[in-house]
Structures are given as C-alpha cells and as structure tokens.
Amino acid sequence: MRKIAILGNPNSGKSSVFNRLTGLSAKVGNFPGVTVEKKVGTIRLPSGLSVEIMDFPGVYSLHPNSKDEFIVTSILTNPKDSHFPDLVLYVADIMHLEKQLLLFSQLVDLGLPIILVLTMKDLAEKDNLKIDLDILKSAWNFPIYPINARTQEGMTGILQEIDLQLIQPGISPQQQYKLSYEEQNAVNGLNEVITSNNVYQTLLVAHYYKQLPHLLPAQADKINKVMSRQGFNSIAFQIRETMQRYDGFTDIVRKAASSGTFKVSRLSEKADEVLTHRWWGLIIFFVVNFLIFQAMFSWASYPMQWIESAFGWIGGLVNQAIASPGWSSFVSDGILAGLGGILVFIPQIAILFFLLTILEDFGYMARAVYMFDRLLQKFGLNGKSLVSLIAGGACAIPAIMSTRTISNQKERLITTLVTPFISCSARIPVYTILVGFVVASTHRIGPFNTQGLLFMGLYLLGIITALLAGWILKQIIKSDERSFLMIELPDYKVPDFKVALQTAFSKTSSFVVEAGKVILLISMALWVLSSYGPKSKMEASRRLVGEMVVAQNLNEQEAADLLANKKLEASFAGTIGKWMEPVIKPLGFDWKIGIALFTSFAAREVFVGTMSTLYSLGTTEDYGTIQQRLAAEKDPVTNQPRFTMPVAVSLLLFYVFAMQCMSTMAVVRRETGGWKWPIIQFLFMCTLAYLSSLIAYQILS
C-alpha cells in the first residue's frame, strides 16, 4: 500500500488533520525497535485506491532533540524503511507560517513530493490575514491547501490531490539549502560508502551515522573513518543550515502575506496574565487538577459498576454452562476475574486521558510544564515529567509511556522510576477498605471528614515520596547530557474533542494490551496456586470442613464459603503465605495478609478479591461486607481483633510504597531496554514499603 506521512511542527494542528482524514480507522502502534508511538490509518481515496496515512511525531527540524524526534530523521534518511512515505502532507499553522517551515524546507531537499496543508484558515480569515498562495506555489511548486480542520472544510480537495500526486508526483524544485564546502566534502566522502541519490539525505547521515539504526556496523565504521578525515563540525553546520533555510523562506512568506507575517494572539497573552501568574497560576493549576480527578472518580463510578456487574453475570453463566467445577472455577475465577480486573479500570484511565488531552490541546499543559519546571528540576525531573506524574494518578503504564517526550535521558529515567509512587486507580479499593480501620467513617476534624483527609494524605504521601525518590536518584545517576526546557507556549485554542477521544482511546488500549497480558497470565497462575496444594493438606482441609459443617450445622452457602477458605489455606498460595509469615510478622501481618500481599504482586486490586475469599465471603466484593468481616476477625493467640489501627496503617503504607504491579515492571523494562532498572525500582520501592510499615507498626502498637 502507498504510504502518506503527516509531518509538521508540534503545534501545527497535525493531529486534527490526521484525525479528520482517518477517522475511526486510526490505530496506534509503535515504530519497530523503538518505543515511539505511531498512529496509522487506512483510507480510500476518491479514485478507489486505499492508502496508509501515518502521523509522525511533531518536530521542528530533522536535526533531532529527543528520542521521539529522532525517529523522523531515522526513517526519512532510509528510503528502504517500511515507513518511508511516498508522499508527505506537511501541516503548518497559517498564523505562524513564517516560523513553521524549517522542517518543510528540509523535506523539500529530501526530494519528497509534498502537499502543503495550512491549518487555522478560519482564524486567519477572522484576523484578516491573507496569504497569496500563488506566490508560495511559484516559489516551491507544490500544491497548497488552506483548511479548517475543525469543520472538514478543504479536506475533499486534499484527498483528490493525494490521488493526483500519487499518479504524478510534483516535481521537486531546486535545493533550498546550499551546502558549504566542508559539508559537500563530507557528502562526497560518504558517497563511497553508501548509495544515495539525494545530497541532503547523505548530509543527514553524515550528522547522525552514529545513531542511525539502518546502517550496518561495517558501514558505520567506514563512515566513521571517512568522517574522521573531515573537519565536520556537526553543531556549527546545523546552525548554518537552519539560518540559511530561514533566510530563504522568510522572504517568500513575507512577500505572500497581506499584513504582518506573524500574528500575536492578544487573547492568549491576556489569559496568560492570569493562568501563568505567580500565585493565580498555581492556584488555578491545583483547582483544575482537583476538578479533573473529581470528574475521573465520579464519572467513572457508573461504567465501573456496569463492568463489574457484567462480569458477575458472565461468571454466573459460565458456572451454569460448564459442568466440571474445576474448569468452571478456572474460567470464572482465573480468566474472567483477571479480565474484569483489567477492564474495570478502563473508565478512569479513559476519562483522565480525555481530560488531559483536552487541556493539552487547549494549550494549558505547556503552561503547566513551564510553571513547574524549576520545582521539578530540583527533584531530578523535567517540567514535562508533570504530565506523567498526573497521568500516574490513573495508571502508571500509559504514564510511563508518555515520558518519551522528555529528551534528557536521565530525567526521563527518573520520571519512569518515580511515577509508580503516585497512587494509581488500583490502590483505591485497597485504601477504601483499610481507612475504615484507622478512623471511623463518622469522625471529623473541623468541617472535614477524617477518612477523606486520610485518603488525601495517602495521595500526598505518594507524591512527596515520588519527589524525594527523584531527588535521591538525581544524586546517584550520573549524566553529562544537558537538559533543556525551551517549550513553546502555543496560542490557546478551542480543543478538538475528536482528537481527545482518539487519544483517550489509544492510551486506554495501550493499558489494556500492556497490563492485560501480564495481569491475565498472573491471574491464571494465581488461580492454579490457590486452587491446588500439597495433596495431603488439601484432603485434610476437605475432611475438616466436612466435620465443621456437621458440627456447626452450616447451610449450603456457608459450607461452600468455608470450603473455599480452607482450601486456600491449604493451597500453594496459602503455603507461600505461611512461609512469608515470619518475615511480615514484624509489620503486623499474618499469613492471610501474606497471601493477599503475594497475590497483589499481579496487580494491587487483587487484594480485595483475595481478602474476600480468605474471609469466606465467596465472590462478594462488597466493601462494606468485607470491612465487617475483617473487623470481626480475631487473632487466634491473643483473641484480640486482627485488624487494628496499627495493622491497617502498616498495610496502607505498604500499598502506598511497594512496587506491586508486574505490568508496570514489564513496561519499565521495555522503556529502559533491560531488566536492570525495573529490578532496582522493585527493590527500592519494596524496601521502602517494608521499612515504613515496620516502623509505623512498631511505633503504633
């Protein structure tokens, strides 16, 4: 299939154009070998031909500044790459055209056929900015389409033009950049090693041969030999090239524009007087975040209930349909429970990412990054880490994947390592059950409900720990790489809801895929561990239950719950819990909590399900019931209540700090390229969890 790439600056309106062109056909994947998000959609052109549309990361230049920017350079310097486009849709904001053509000018020199798409036509008209397209066309000889991506206006023209261009690609005009003597020398030298019929492409290879994945090691070595003979000053040449290109197209744009070539958005500046104000800016940021999380929890509660009841219903059907009790339990408690545990978090993740994308598209996130950069730098992070930290409030997996925009490797790594400290959705069920053992639900401090304050305290504890851990890591990890902020604060604009929906969808599916496979596998493994055990023990427990049923005259339901309870105790999982007991006893935990901790390493929310089985509640996950049952539990030795305030505090602290999510570890492994960092992260977080629980329990009890 023919490939069409959408390229442009970060704030050009690229995503809107991609969304309007591809609609629902868009899919999100990764560029092979790298963890950079790739959006692809297939569309049918008016001629009936199907083509693939790819949205590339937004970049200013082919001289990259971060991992996700490098992918563009890497693909465009390799015509054999499976993503190398047949045609480019270059998207630029008509209001800032003079500042958005650097990349365009580089693409021209790569000899690519281009359709120039100018967005924000509506705003330009409102602002009385007229661009004489004929002047632009005669300068570059490419078709140009001003559009309004919000209303689909101009899109049909683009589709027809794609058809035309694929049959008869526009002729590339002359080279925009004249190479210096030294650059030409380098290109000549490289021509002995690589075959390329494009001078600028070869020049880019000269700049980046050390990182380009498509060069064979032998080729890179040869290039290295050639280059070491040259006086090739990469940075100086990049600067020269960039300046020369600007000189070239600035004149053209100025000639074509009716009035001033760059438009100042007075409205944006007025808004920023408040939104980035020293005090107001911060206050508004916290209010906005409070509202976002409020919305996430309240809106998500309905679909979450639907998902839970749907799974309950399906589980019931399975139990009826499958005659063998072993298999029916495997399907309903192993597979369905795992699936349900994943799907139930979809609403929260989708809502959070929808709202965050709206804020981003509106232009606010860039301001938040600007405001918090200095603070976060003190903790080894970058202003851009803020986005990951907020997203971590829903789920660490998509949050860690959004660290890819951080160009400095050390800051990106630290963000990846500390984000799991932020309390994610999966911790909420655990907190909900346990806060009841710390303070009564009716207790108040002033006008505030104490349980609510405690909940907030747990969140705050996660945030503070993330920052402190960042500070520690900053001292430990050594790096000479320079860190930059340099963030453009775009004009505020009405957010594109379709783009936000698409982003929410893609982030959610990344969660389902990444977390899904791990949680499902572990859920099945846990089912096996908790359903089977040493034969003698299992049989003994069955006999014991039989005797107890007769002695205590239990009804059928009570007998089934008791059997589940005793079976779990005798199972492999129960055995592991008992092994763990000496280690976790100083934290105030017994073997039952040990089993719950062990199973929580699949995903934290499994705690609730395990607890309800351990306390013979069958499959109920009603928090009130679980809480009552936990409260009634007595320590067999002292005959005192098992779940005391110190135990609950200790357990809460453990869940705030411990790395109990295999899916997150799998994503960290992928993003950092090895097991080293996830293992360090695991040990660090779990040690912290153990020590803080130990100290809290020993002091409180």
């Binding site: 230049s61 003079e98 940075i235 300046m243 920023d272 020293r278 200095r374 963030i487 775009p490």
Partner: protein
C-alpha cells in the same frame, strides 16, 4: 550619529532585538524553534518557582530556563 551596538542580557533589559547567541548547543535548538537573529524578544514574567521565564519572540511565546535565556544576546531597541 554612530551608535555602538552593545550586547546585553535579556533578563537585564527585558526587551530587545536578538543579535547573537553565546552557546552553540542551546542556540541550535533556539533557532530551530524560530528564535533568530533579528527577532524582537521580550521577557514577560518569571515562573512561580523562579528561574524559568515567559518570553515573547516575534508573536510566539516560550518558556525558557535561566541558562537558556542567558544565551540570547540582545541590543536595546
């Protein structure tokens, strides 16, 4: 009359015309974002936690760190 061009720091004079950069690595990134020689730059405000600056350049706005803004040399308008 001849008026000598004196390079100043944008943080000192708040507004000026860019006449040069003092660091290659940083200037490479600045110019690729359209912060060029001849551009009119003005410092609007400092961020809540300090040391980061809200800068207007030719109709665009940027958040720049102290070490980034200090690379920009300007002259009074």
């Amino acid at each position: 009359m001849f008026k000598p061009i004196i390079a100043k720091n944008l943080r000192e004079i708040k507004q000026g015309k860019i006449i040069g950069f003092t660091d290659e690595n940083i200037s490479k990134l600045l110019i690729s974002k359209g912060i060029l020689m001849g551009s009119i730059a003005s410092l609007v405000r400092e961020s809540p936690f300090g040391q980061t600056y809200y800068v207007k350049i030719d109709g665009l706005r940027f958040g720049l760190r102290k070490n980034e803004i200090d690379v920009i040399q300007v002259t009074e308008l």
